[in-house]
C-alpha cells in the first residue's frame, strides 16, 4: 500500500513496525517495570551509567536489537539501507552519544515511552530533537551537503 502523494512512504510496514516497538516497550514496562530507553540501556550495558536495570538485563535488551533486525532481514530477504560516510557517522554518533546522556533519553525513551505517558519532560525533549533534526537536514540540504 502506498500513500497518495508520497510514493516512497511505507505506511503499513511503518505502522506494523511501530506496533512491534510499542509491544517491546510494553513488555519492558509491564514485565520488568522499566522504560525501554535504548540510550540509557546501552549506557548501562557498557558501564557508563544510564538505566537502573541490572547490567545483564541491559545487555540482553541491546543484543536483542540486532537479533530482531536479523530475523526481519532473513524473513524478508533483505533490508534496504543507505549509510553516510565513516567520518559523518563518527561525528553524528559522537553528538548523539553526548546529547542522549545530557537529555536523559532518545527517540525510544522520550519519543515512545515518555510521550505515551504524557510526560512533559519527554514531550518537550521530543519536540526539541524533532525540531533540531528537521533544521539540521534543512540546513544541510540548503548548503548542498549530501551525506547519503
Amino acid at each position: 500500500m502506498t500513500l497518495p502523494g508520497f510514493p516512497e512512504a511505507a505506511p503499513l510496514a511503518g505502522l506494523a513496525g511501530g506496533v512491534l516497538i510499542g509491544l517491546a516497550a510494553a513488555v519492558m514496562l509491564l514485565g520488568l517495570g522499566r522504560i525501554a530507553g535504548v540510550s540509557g540501556l546501552a549506557a548501562k550495558a557498557v558501564g557508563l551509567g544510564g538505566s537502573g536495570i541490572a547490567r545483564g538485563g541491559a545487555w540482553m535488551f541491546i543484543v536483542g536489537l540486532p537479533l530482531g533486525a536479523l530475523i526481519v532481514m532473513l524473513a524478508s530477504g533483505g533490508i534496504d539501507a543507505t549509510f553516510a560516510s565513516p567520518i559523518t557517522l563518527a561525528i553524528a554518533g559522537l553528538i548523539v552519544g553526548i546529547g542522549t546522556r545530557l537529555g536523559s533519553g532518545c527517540t525510544s525513551g522520550h519519543g515512545v515511552c515518555g510521550v505515551s505517558r504524557l510526560s512533559v519532560r519527554s514531550i518537550v525533549a521530543t519536540v526539541t530533537f524533532m525540531a533540531t533534526g528537521i533544521a539540521t537536514v534543512a540546513i544541510m540540504n540548503a548548503l548542498g551537503l549530501e551525506v547519503l
Partner: protein, 139 residues
C-alpha cells in the same frame, strides 16, 4: 532468568519493529526529517503505532500492584524542564539529522551494515563516555 529472558524478548521485538518500520535505513529517517523537501511520512506511522500501544500499556500500570516479573516499578519521576534536558535533546536531534541514525536503529543495523553501524555505535558510546567523564570532574 525470567527477567533476563524478558529483556531479550523486549529487545528482539524492538529490533524487529525498527527494521520492519524502515528505521534502520538512514535514508528513510532523513526523508522523514526533510519536511521542506521530499518528505517521507513513514516514521510518523512508526511513532504513531508505538505510542498507541504504549498508551494502552500505561493505562494497565495503575491496575498492577507490581510488574509481572519483578517486585516494583522503577519509573522516571523527574518533572522539571532544565537547560540540560533541552540542550541535550537539541544536540541529539542535530546528530540524528546529520546521519539519520538514533541509538536503537544504530545498534540494530549492526547486522545490516556492520562496518557503518559499528562506527556510529562506537562514536556514540564515546560521546556517552565524554559526558560521564565530565560529570565525574564536576562531582
Amino acid at each position: 532468568m525470567r527477567t533476563t529472558l524478558t529483556s531479550l524478548v523486549s529487545g528482539t521485538l524492538f529490533g524487529a519493529g525498527l527494521a520492519l518500520g524502515g528505521m534502520t535505513d538512514p535514508a528513510r529517517v532523513r526523508g522523514f526529517l526533510d519536511i521542506f523537501g521530499d518528505w517521507d511520512p513513514t516514521l510518523a506511522f512508526v511513532m504513531g503505532g508505538a505510542v498507541i500501544v504504549m498508551a494502552i500499556a500505561w493505562r494497565i500500570v495503575p491496575r498492577l500492584a507490581e510488574p509481572i516479573f519483578v517486585g516494583e516499578f522503577h519509573l522516571p519521576t523527574k518533572s522539571d524542564l532544565t537547560p540540560r534536558l533541552m540542550g541535550g535533546a537539541a544536540l541529539f536531534g542535530i546528530g540524528w539529522g546529520i546521519a539519520g541514525l538514533c541509538p536503537g536503529p544504530g545498534i540494530a543495523a549492526l547486522v545490516i551494515e556492520p562496518a557503518s553501524a559499528a562506527i556510529f555505535v562506537v562514536a556514540m558510546l564515546a560521546g556517552m563516555a565524554v559526558v560521564r567523564l565530565a560529570e565525574g570532574t564536576y562531582s
